[in-house]
């Protein structure tokens, strides 16, 4: 529509000359557009387009000063949007459809801005939309964008309440910023002290979706994570860090296999008690501090092997016999805690137990060719009675020598995925290698299982923290060796030693911009990225990571012994009350504030009164000067000249903004030098 474009362009050029109403409306539409913009990625395409169309339509109406559409049109569009929402989400409840409907409502409400009440509805919906962004991301960028949004909304709100003339946007923006800045101390205080409590109802599965580790694994599910460069956890080591090849962060252990999917073993509480993990450690422990992102699972991916429960404020931790650490509820906030791990360890039963039987089960009818391959291996004399470690080594050798390829994108696998991978395509990601390894070990009658977690960290620490990314997610295997227990075997190390020993991950193709920059200057790219992540880390540590543990630390640093929830609330109430009292005191003090010019005149008049010269409040400095001259003649000329100067300061063409304190002082001292008349 060139006509509409032209109108918009001319409106933009003549922004200052627009009528007040049109300008305010355009500004608000712009703010709304900015607020909704980051949602475009999550919303259905129709919703983004509908919103854009409505906002443009409203802008057009504002520019043409045309009448708003009737309510029936709005109702029709709203019903249409609700229908589309139902069609694309199958429901009107829940996060996605909720956000969709709020955005549509907000856009449509702009077509109904008749009374001031309507404007308020738009503003409050706007604040709500700002919050919904945080469900998707709480990154620094989103925070900055939303700060701008809140500022814009407050500015529009201020504009509504400046009905006189045509206040500039800059002025309204400054007033809004001032309001928010003065509110910032209250915000900081409440943020620090407001007791963090758990969700009031339900567990927010709708929160940020993190495809972290889970209690199940399918072919391809870890490979998905290889594309996710976000950080899963950060570790800082008290001493030197362990070798990259030893950095296994142990997550869920998957024992049960149904042919498609690996699942965790069944633990009832009784079995949990009965089967000890039998962890035996050697050597010196590695002490580390971990900052764990909210992965929304109960599994704690601790460094292998962490023997003692880490103390985490607000959570109870529990060790399973398979050496996995759990929390009593899903971790939905950033956690920071300290722990110790022993890189050298053994675990698991020394002798065969019934519990091992589960680690031998294979689903009937799946992967027959691999089973046949294993049986053939067994028939070779060298392996007929070989112990498990020899069999494992044989498999590793097979992987190393038979031209297997380690790739992020191995393609789709069918029902007999292990057959297809092991014997035909030989291309896979860590889970393919681990699955095949475990299936073959089981076929060889060796108990084996898959361990998922993270392996390796970024090469260089940032701020002392080694970042472990979602793309470091890994699956490896463990087999059971009589007399030793469970032994780690990482078939990925056989095919891609770099992945394990140096932590170098398979990188997905970089984006256009990063790619170009990476070609020109890899160091610059790395440094930029490092700097950005350092800032991000601070952001995470100080803002997003702030939870009950940190609140308790704050109280401890304030000298409270064994602080509790109630202490926080009490401190918050006391601080807010004193702030309120401070505000009231300021208002009370402000009562005495009078016009500084009047105050100056009062001082001058008081000085004259001591000399016996009475004057009235309305007497101009000029009149007083005349009286001084009449009284003292040449003697009082200095005083009179000062009064004349004051007259010029106040009423001449070049007036001062504020009274001249030096003049007041000079006047008072001169007046002291004179003797009272009569």
């Amino acid at each position: 529509m060139p006509a509409a474009l032209k109108a918009r362009a001319s409106a933009w050029l003549g922004w200052q000359r627009l009528p007040r109403d049109a300008r305010d409306t355009l500004f608000m539409l712009f703010v709304i557009g900015w607020t909704v913009l980051p949602h475009v990625g999550h919303l259905a395409a129709w919703c983004s387009l509908l919103t854009l169309a409505v906002l443009l339509w409203r802008a057009r109406l504002a520019l043409d000063n045309a009448a708003l559409p009737s309510r029936w049109v709005l109702v029709a569009v709203l019903l249409f949007a609700a229908g589309l929402t139902l069609w694309s989400h199958q429901t009107l409840l829940g996060k996605e459809p909720g956000v969709t409907m709020v955005v549509v409502l907000m856009a449509l409400k702009t077509l109904e801005l008749r009374a001031r009440r309507d404007a308020f509805v738009v503003f409050f919906l706007g604040f709500f939309i700002v919050l919904t962004h945080f469900l998707y991301s709480q990154s620094l960028l989103v925070a900055v964008a939303m700060l701008v949004s809140v500022w814009g909304l407050l500015t529009a709100l201020v504009l509504v309440h400046m009905p006189v003339g045509q206040p500039s946007l800059r002025q309204a923006g400054a007033l809004a910023a001032r309001t928010a800045l003065w509110g910032a101390p209250i915000m900081a205080l409440m943020f620090v002290l407001f007791p963090r409590i758990g969700p009031l109802w339900g567990v927010p599965s709708d929160g940020q979706v993190k495809t972290g580790l889970s209690n199940t694994m399918r072919m391809g599910s870890v490979a998905e994570l290889a594309l996710d460069d976000s950080i899963a956890l950060r570790v800082r080591f008290d001493g030197p860090p362990p070798a990259p090849g030893a950095m296994y962060f142990r997550g869920p252990v998957l024992t049960r296999f149904d042919g498609h999917e690996w699942r965790v073993a069944n633990f009832d509480s009784f079995a949990t008690l009965r089967a000890p993990s039998n962890l035996q450690v050697r050597g010196d422990p590695v002490r580390y501090e971990m900052t764990l992102e909210p992965l929304r699972i109960t599994s704690l991916p601790l460094l292998e092997a962490t023997g003692i429960a880490p103390a985490i404020e607000g959570y109870r931790t529990l060790a399973l016999p398979d050496l996995q650490w759990l929390t009593d509820r899903p971790v939905i906030e950033r956690l920071r805690f300290k722990a110790e791990a022993w890189p050298q360890f053994t675990h698991g039963p020394r002798t065969s137990t019934p519990a091992l039987r589960e680690a031998l089960e294979l689903p009937a009818g799946y992967n027959p060719r691999t089973l046949a391959w294993a049986a053939e291996l067994r028939r070779q004399p060298a392996y007929a009675n070989a112990p498990p470690r020899v069999l494992a080594a044989a498999l590793m050798t097979h992987i190393r020598t038979q031209r297997y390829t380690y790739t992020v994108a191995p393609g789709e696998y069918g029902a007999n995925a292990v057959d297809e991978f092991w014997l035909d395509r030989r291309e896979g990601f860590c889970e393919h290698f681990a699955s095949a390894f475990v299936v073959i070990m089981r076929a060889l009658n060796v108990p084996a299982r898959i361990v998922t977690g993270f392996q390796g960290t970024d090469a260089a620490p940032i701020d002392g923290y080694y970042a472990v990314r979602q793309s470091s997610a890994h699956a490896w295997a463990e087999y059971w060796e009589p007399g030793t227990g469970w032994v780690r075997a990482d078939p990925t190390a056989a095919v891609a030693p770099d992945r394990i020993d140096r932590g170098s991950r398979l990188a997905p193709p970089p984006g256009l911009m990063a790619g170009a920059l990476g070609n020109v200057s890899p160091e610059l790219l790395a440094r930029l990225r490092g700097g950005w992540e350092a800032i991000n880390n601070r952001w995470n540590q100080w803002v997003l990571n702030y939870s009950r543990g940190q609140q308790i630390d704050v109280l401890k640093s304030l000298g409270v012994d064994s602080p509790s929830w109630e202490d926080l609330a009490l401190l918050l109430i006391v601080s807010l009350s004193s702030l309120a009292l401070g505000g009231a005191a300021w208002a009370w003090w402000d009562r005495h504030r009078i016009d500084p010019w009047v105050r100056q005149m009062e001082r001058l008049r008081a000085a004259l009164r001591r000399l016996g010269l009475d004057s009235a409040a309305h007497d101009a400095p000029r009149a007083l000067a005349a009286r001084v001259r009449a009284q003292y003649g040449a003697q009082g000329e200095a005083l009179a000249a000062l009064l004349d100067a004051l007259e010029r300061q106040r009423y001449s063409r070049t007036t001062l903004a504020r009274p001249d304190a030096a003049l007041t002082r000079a006047f008072v001292s001169h007046a002291r030098g004179l003797r009272p008349a009569r």
Partner: protein
């Protein structure tokens, strides 16, 4: 009928009014500036609570930041709203007299001792909420606002109670003040319209010596036909034209210029009710003043001697306004 709520409200109003001394210059302080949240403010509070619940339930630290930022801004806006009125000085300039039915203009000067103040609305307290006249006051400066209301009864009245309010900056709170100016307002009777023609000097019983009886004097102009006009006074040519155009007969007007002196007499108003007589006398006063005549006003208990000029006009109207 006894209505307890109404009685209570009246009692409260009487008490509130007695708290407020009448003054033409009102300094707004903590003691006479009131503040309450608006409906939008309550809606805002609900929004903040919903945001807080969402932040708790989804464990969003940035949600907490947003919630508390809005809460902090709301609290600060309360102080700013209150400070917008507090410290201002309101001054009412002398009020010009007005006629019943006309708008009385009140000129209010607002002085700010410090910062600039925005979005202050002033109105007569009893007027509808939508009739605020908005004004900004510059820093260390003055601004004046004009309020108007319709005078309903003649006489000397107190200026009605005025109200100033603001919702600046966010509209979450409304702060207001009630001001009872001490100034008094003179309201003249409503001039009769259409005005009856000025009485002829002939009608003046025992008229002054200057009055000349002259029915056939020099023709000075024309005026509407009045019952009793002799046919020779009718300007026939003009009357024909006027009647063609749907008008009335037109008589020659010989009174105004010729009769420099003129008595406006209560008794000369025929059998009108007292208030209507006052209206007619007011209209005559205005007409006589316009014509530049020398005129006097005769009321049952008062008589203003023949004179002319603005002061005389004012005295006459004042006498009419304050009669009994």
């Amino acid at each position: 009928m006894l209505n307890p709520a109404r009685q209570l409200r009246q009692r409260f109003q009487r008490w509130a009014q007695s708290r407020q001394a009448r003054t033409d210059t009102l300094q707004l302080t903590q003691r006479n500036v009131y503040i309450l949240p608006t409906r939008a403010g309550l809606l805002f509070a609900v929004t903040v609570i919903v945001l807080l619940l969402a932040s708790i339930n989804y464990q969003l630290n940035l949600g907490y930041v947003l919630t508390f930022l809005l809460a902090g801004s709301g609290v600060v806006s309360m102080h700013i709203t209150h400070a917008t009125l507090r410290g201002l000085t309101l001054h009412l300039r002398p009020v010009a007299p007005a006629f019943v039915g006309d708008a009385v203009l009140l000129d209010v000067v607002l002085t700010s001792p410090g910062t600039a103040r925005f979005g202050i609305g002033l109105k007569v307290a009893s007027a509808a909420p939508g009739t605020l006249s908005w004004i900004n006051v510059p820093a260390l400066g003055q601004a004046s606002a004009q309020l108007s209301f319709v005078a309903t009864a003649r006489g000397r009245h107190e200026v009605p109670t005025l109200g100033a309010e603001t919702r600046f900056p966010l509209g979450l709170f409304r702060t207001w003040t009630v001001w009872r100016p001490a100034a008094q307002l003179l309201v003249y009777p409503k001039p009769e319209h259409p005005a009856a023609a000025l009485p002829l000097t002939r009608a003046v019983a025992g008229g002054a010596a200057q009055a000349r009886i002259n029915d056939g004097g020099e023709v000075e102009g024309v005026r509407a036909y009045r019952r009793g006009d002799p046919p020779k006074l009718i300007a026939w040519k003009k009357a024909a034209k006027a009647m063609e155009a749907g008008g009335d007969l037109v008589s020659r007007d010989t009174s105004a210029a010729v009769h420099q002196a003129l008595w406006l007499d209560w008794q000369g108003c025929g059998s009108l009710a007292p208030e209507d007589r006052l209206s007619r006398l007011a209209a005559w006063t205005l007409a006589a003043h316009r014509a530049g005549a020398e005129y006097g006003l005769r009321l049952p208990d008062r008589e203003l001697d023949l004179a002319s000029g603005d002061a005389h006009r004012r005295h006459c109207l004042e006498a009419l306004a304050l009669w009994r």
